[in-house]
Symmetry: C2
């Protein structure tokens, strides 16, 4: 068993919900992603030495930060006789619907597992990152952390017990994600959804989700395109994103397979058949936000299929 | 192009809904199934010469019977200069939740298409059998007719436009279907469902359905088993089936992967890893119905993967 005194990890941003997959589906991106540095220390504690790229917004207090929280629980469970000092490089916007908190906790716990000689599987690490999500947003969701740690498309069938299924990724599939400079509070985005939905709409939603899953297995981009519909959350949540209809129309006109809200927004994602198309689609989406006076950031990326990766280890 | 003056067809019974797949999923059985005989006649009309095995309950009037209705529309659309005389051998109980009306219309239109030299694809035939379902039960559903005509597991993503997806069948997968001698009116079974459902339950349902689809592609019977749950229709519709809980428990105790209501009932199906297991599971289910004084019929079958088949042609 090798052991390291320093590990540097890339951890992917994630798109949760994915149209019809509200609360049960997410996928990982190669861009953007956080960089997490872990330094082994002899004292059995987890501290955060520095966070870069967050404009000072994230807590440095270890039990309030998702990354250090997850690592603390992990080290305590496996009983390793060392601590970790973290440096977090935020490479994505906070509260943007891109799974920022999940990326940091996933990168940190993946790095700590590596440092300890990989005692746990990737699936076993999900529980620590889920608990960390509760610190960040009040509920222990896995729709960002599970795809962030496993890579690709990940389905969460059940939470009790946790049952996640990694789905295949059609070759070449790419994504444009545009983050408009406006803020959507995750809690608000959940509260405005109706607690009761019509059975008719629910049937449409699960028909589309089932077809979306089939399309991933069948490598059928036309079916994927027809399935990327959300009749439950998008019609309501899109009201919180200025210019949403215009941006979605721009994405579809530019040749996206489908376009919807990333997580609870405000970021908007568009799946595309290849990276070049994703670039053109993303540009159109940025222009559409621009046309209503809203600045935005564009990320163009392949689907990340491997999850986090070690960049450096000493 | 060959053409025939007589075609005899086997058409499979079907299990619609399949637990989490309410209104969007169904699969076909090798047993039971109807036998439909078609005789070419020179007059351009469709008549029913005889129906056997229905105890005189089905209409012989051509535009009120699903089989003749479907064939009439089909022949009219393709403009063939011949008519058909039908003999229908019902080999399954009526109003049992086994897609009896769908089997007859599917067998008839499949045979007529064969007689005409197969001008239409199987998928193209679905529309005629759907319209015939309206004659039988008031709404143009495809969750029995689509699997009956395509074979295997079939997902209906959308009705407008019709978009069906054939899913793979894990090797060896078998089914026990038990038909208790009690009647559930399809209309009543639909009416007692709530028009509004909780978002929380809907999310559980579509998580399970998405996992069920993944399990079929992954040939993962354990995942299939975990996914065969219905939190929407079964808790309500099962109240119309005497002894349902006991029968389901008997099926699971005997090693079924999952057990739920076939269509809108009263038949109950149990998916199993192989035919032998399905036999044992079915026997337990029959005994459970028997223990509350209810007679029942047992069908044990592999999943039908080919849809209808020609038995004889002259």
């Amino acid at each position: 068993m090798e052991s390291y005194s320093f590990v540097k990890v890339f951890a992917p941003a994630t798109v949760a919900n994915v149209a019809a997959g509200f609360d049960v589906l997410g996928f990982a991106l190669d861009n953007p992603g956080d960089i997490i540095e872990l330094k082994r220390i002899s004292e059995r504690k987890v501290t955060i030495k520095a966070i870069h790229g967050d404009s000072g917004k994230l807590p440095l207090v270890a039990d309030k930060n998702t990354a250090s929280f997850a690592v603390s629980r992990f080290l305590s469970d496996i009983g390793e006789p060392f601590g970790v000092e973290l440096v977090i490089h935020k490479r994505m916007p906070l509260k943007s619907g891109l799974g920022s908190s999940a990326a940091s906790s996933v990168g940190a716990v993946f790095g700590a597992n590596k440092m300890a000689g990989n005692p746990l599987s990737r699936k076993e690490l999900i529980q620590y990152t889920m608990e960390a999500e509760r610190v960040a947003c009040g509920s222990a969701h896995a729709d960002n952390t599970a795809p962030a740690i496993l890579g690709g498309f990940v389905l969460i069938r059940s939470y009790d017990p946790l049952d996640v299924v990694k789905l295949p990724v059609p070759e070449g599939l790419a994504c444009a994600v545009v983050h408009p400079h406006t803020e959507v509070n995750t809690g608000d985005a959940r509260k405005i959804l109706k607690k009761e939905i019509s059975l008719t709409k629910a049937i449409r939603q699960w028909g589309n989700l089932a077809a979306l899953v089939a399309a991933l297995f069948m490598n059928d981009l036309e079916l994927l395109s027809r399935s990327l519909q959300d009749v439950i959350a998008e019609p309501i949540r899109s009201l919180l994103i200025p210019g949403y209809e215009r941006v979605k129309e721009a994405a579809m006109m530019a040749g996206a397979l489908g376009c919807s809200i990333s997580g609870s927004g405000p970021s908007v994602f568009a799946l595309c058949g290849n990276l070049e198309r994703a670039g053109a689609v993303g540009k159109s989406m940025v222009e559409a936000f621009d046309s209503i006076g809203l600045d935005s950031d564009l990320y163009v990326s392949r689907i990340n299929v491997e999850g986090p990766r070690v960049i450096e280890e000493l």
